[in-house]
């Protein structure tokens, strides 16, 4: 919890006097401060720079070096100050954390030096305040990436370990061609054949002059069909061998087959094989011709050879949402203008704007300021809207291209930051919740320790063990929470125990043989045990406790905390029965209904119920 409010603990404790007149049970004894909190000045000498602060300031965070007894190791007797051989510039921020409760990250400091100082002084970096947390995380990520890149470079430059299997050796050769001469040769050969194949595809379609017995001009592909076929076969064989070798060598075949490069490889060689198995049928030759288009995808195989192409691909992929939005807005504009133009030109005769989709072509050509002139509006209204279309096209495309580019990069970064902030907010809330849970868990542990010590004291008849060395602030805060428990006569339990209790109660209720038919309480309840409470009246509270306890004892519950504390609590209340002097008239009323319900209760539970009655009505 924020130790800035540690100074307000005396106020909170004093305000607890407001609970005293309404308390149900007597208050627990406050913790004895064995040593009065000396509020003296501490001198911290960090490499010659002297810092001074109050002792209580440092003790706000008892789980750090400066706040705990660990600092005694650094005490310098001669000068009666604490000496640390660390960086004073960074120490300034660490000391400010104690003073203000917020840890800041200075932008000019090196991230690893800062991390080292935090680790030395026992402060976890998650405490860094929101103002500096993003910067810190960014710097940290950059640093981690740099380290990783360094590692990868080192790995790549390593001398080949001799005990690689053939498969691993092959994969390594494919991924890093410069590791061995054979890999390099293979790399260049495949590159050469990709180029050859692409050029062959291109040259195939060039007209090559006419044959003597044909009137039409033929393309080179048709004229030298056999040559081109052999070339194609050779290329495809090389590509197939390469693909199969990669498939064999891949460490994870499924992952390899799903990767983009392997898909490109398959698409590049498929048309050839499909063409082989298909007969020279006129019906399917049209489809076959279409398949040949896919051969152009072989050009993408170059991306294995060029890092630049890969980076372009990654950039496009990462900007996909922005590009999609741009496309969407353009589509909207196109549809709007196409519709307008179509209806504007509907009246004119022999118009080319036969339908709205036909008008799309006009809109696109006009907006991108191409203006082929194959479709032009003839009516005045059409011309007016046509000019608006071309002007807005200029606005959309020509003017803000740089603005859009920078806008998109800014929006992209902003949305990334918003996403980061949203994610950080979740982790921040989780941290806060964890801190709260830590606080309550600390209290539960304190209770257990306290009860354990009480039990020991009873057994030994003397205080063997002093209260565990918890700092005075913690013990006083726990005492305050204990007072609240005593005032309301209810105990704090942790979340799991509470859920477990509720589930147990509902299960018991379902199999309930002990449900008494007392008057039901009419209130709708917000607690999860409402179903049960509607059946029982409030006065049967003691017996319902028994049910819980007895069921807890019967079933082997793994939650030992609650059980031990419950059992211990019972032991605690037993002596109360004898000590309680005042039995108010209200207790007489209580005993009557309990007697009826405890008919089917065992003797043990009756004693429990009596002790519980004492607890409830101890006024």
């Amino acid at each position: 919890m924020a130790a800035g409010v540690a100074a307000w603990l005396p106020f909170a404790r004093a305000a607890a006097i407001g609970w005293m007149p309404v308390a149900s049970t007597p208050m627990p004894i406050p913790p004895q401060d064995k040593r009065k909190a000396q509020d003296g000045l501490i001198i911290l000498n960090v490499s010659g720079t002297k810092f001074q602060t109050w002792r209580t300031t440092l003790e706000r965070y008892p789980d750090t070096l400066l706040g705990s007894t660990e600092r005694d190791f650094f005490f310098h007797e001669e000068t009666s100050e604490y000496f640390f051989d660390r960086d004073p510039d960074i120490f300034r921020h660490i000391l400010n954390f104690y003073r203000t409760g917020k840890l800041h990250y200075p932008r000019q400091e090196c991230i690893s030096a800062y991390d080292e100082e935090l680790a030395f002084f026992g402060i976890i970096p998650e405490i860094i305040g929101d103002c500096c947390y993003e910067e810190y995380k960014d710097r940290r990520r950059e640093n981690a990436e740099r380290l990783q890149d360094d590692e990868e470079m080192d790995m790549n430059n390593d001398v080949t370990p001799v005990n690689l299997t053939f498969r691993e050796y092959l994969w390594r050769a494919f991924e890093n061609p410069h590791t061995s001469t054979l890999a390099l040769v293979f790399y260049y050969v495949t590159g050469f054949f990709i180029a050859i194949s692409v050029m062959a595809n291109v040259v195939e379609t060039v007209p090559c002059g006419t044959l003597p017995n044909r009137s039409k001009e033929m393309s080179c592909g048709d004229r030298y069909a056999l040559a081109f076929f052999c070339l194609d076969t050779a290329c495809v064989m090389i590509f197939t061998v390469e693909y199969l070798l990669r498939l064999i060598a891949a460490p994870s075949r499924c992952k390899f087959m799903k990767s983009v490069m392997s898909v490109i490889d398959v698409v590049a060689i498929m048309p050839y094989y499909i063409g082989l198995v298909m007969t020279d049928n006129d019906q399917v030759s049209g489809a076959f011709v279409t398949l040949r288009v896919f051969r152009v995808f072989r050009i993408f195989k170059f991306s294995r050879h060029s890092a630049g192409l890969r980076i372009l691909g990654y950039t496009l992929k990462s900007c996909a949402s922005e590009l999609g939005f741009l496309l969407f807005s353009l589509t909207m504009a196109i549809i709007i203008f196409a519709t307008v133009m179509f209806y504007a030109e509907k009246g004119s005769t022999a118009t080319k704007f036969t339908s709205i989709p036909a008008a799309f072509w006009y809109t696109i050509v006009t907006m991108t300021t191409l203006g082929y002139g194959d479709m032009v509006p003839k009516t005045i209204v059409g011309k007016v809207f046509g000019s608006i279309c071309s002007l807005s096209g200029v606005l959309v495309i020509a003017l803000p291209v740089p603005v859009i580019v920078s806008n998109f990069s800014r929006i992209y970064h902003q949305s990334q930051r918003a996403e980061k902030r949203r994610a950080q907010r979740k982790t921040r809330l989780a941290r806060i919740r964890a801190a709260k849970i830590r606080g309550t868990n600390a209290y539960m542990r304190y209770k257990q320790n306290g009860l354990l010590i009480d039990a020991l004291e009873e057994e030994a008849g003397q205080a063997l063990v002093g209260k565990a060395a918890s700092p005075p602030f913690e013990s006083q805060h726990h005492h305050l929470l204990h007072c609240l428990e005593k005032t309301t006569n209810h105990e704090f339990v942790d979340e799991q125990t509470f859920q477990a209790n509720c589930m147990e109660i509902s299960v018991v209720n379902k199999s309930g043989s002990r449900t008494s038919s007392l008057s039901s309480s009419p209130h709708g309840l917000s607690s999860c045990c409402s179903r049960r409470h509607r059946k029982k009246s409030s006065f049967s509270l003691p017996s319902t406790n028994n049910q819980e306890l007895s069921t807890i004892q019967i079933r082997e519950r793994p939650v030992s905390n609650s059980r031990s504390s419950l059992n211990a609590k019972l032991d605690e209340t037993m002596p109360l029965k004898c000590d309680e002097a005042y039995i108010s008239p209200s207790m007489v009323r209580l005993s009557a209904p309990v007697a009826t319900s405890s008919d089917d209760a065992s003797t043990a539970t009756t004693t429990y119920s009596q002790s519980n009655i004492v607890r409830v009505s101890a006024l």
Binding site: A6, A14, G18, G439, C483, F498, C502
Partner: protein
């Protein structure tokens, strides 16, 4: 067209920025309060000089402007009770500390209240408690006022308690309280009834001395 849409989407953010800056200006011109001198406070309260120094340092650290408003008060008090909702009780507490009812608790109010609670006689403490329960400060504690206070106290326990908190528990508690305190059964508790009853109750008397060595 896309650029137009982008430009339109940017505008609301700018508008938000201008309203934020207006609020920032208001905050800057917030009240700064300086307490009376140390000697005067020493004379008015039962704290020693050193104790006042410690109190003020803590106070000023959390509230640099010198006064606590109700929101800050609720935040601070809520930090001590992480499991439940301390805001209602903190509201009543704030009203009890804010003796001049000006909506903020200055250091003098704070230290006067603490002086009564920590160093006052039992009589004074009981009067302070009565003042806390008497929400409308009319000199009588009615069942409704007591029920509000009781619900606020039970709210601080939160949901995860053993035994499970039921809705009529505060009401029952109030009944028990009135049984004990309301001697003439007129449905309200006056200050004399309250003080008489508490002085006859050993437990309450003992608990009044509980926090004497807090500071």
């Amino acid at each position: 067209m896309g650029a137009l849409m982008v430009i339109f989407s940017l505008q609301p953010k700018q508008r938000r920025k201008t309203t934020d800056s207006v609020e920032d200006e208001l905050e800057l011109s917030a009240v700064r309060h300086r307490p009376e001198g140390l000697e005067q406070l020493e004379a008015q309260t039962r704290f020693s000089r050193k104790e006042l120094q410690i109190l003020y340092r803590g106070f000023k650290n959390e509230c640099p402007s010198g006064v606590v408003n109700e929101e800050t008060f609720k935040d601070i008090y809520a930090q001590f009770f992480p499991q439940g909702d301390a805001s209602t009780y903190a509201h009543f507490l704030f009203n009890a500390f804010d003796t001049d009812h000006n909506g903020s608790v200055s250091f003098e109010d704070f230290v006067m209240g603490l002086s009564i609670l920590l160093r006052g006689t039992v009589q004074e403490k009981l009067i302070w408690a009565f003042n806390l329960y008497d929400i409308n400060k009319d000199g009588y504690i009615t069942k409704e006022e007591m029920l509000d206070i009781m619900k606020a106290i039970y709210d601080m326990m939160g949901k995860c308690t053993y035994p499970v908190l039921k809705e009529e528990t505060p009401r029952q508690h109030v009944e028990v309280f009135f049984q004990k305190m309301d001697k003439n059964k007129d449905g309200v508790v006056t200050i004399d009834e309250f003080i008489d009853c508490c002085q006859n109750d050993e437990n309450i008397m003992r608990s009044m001395h509980l926090f004497e060595n807090v500071l």
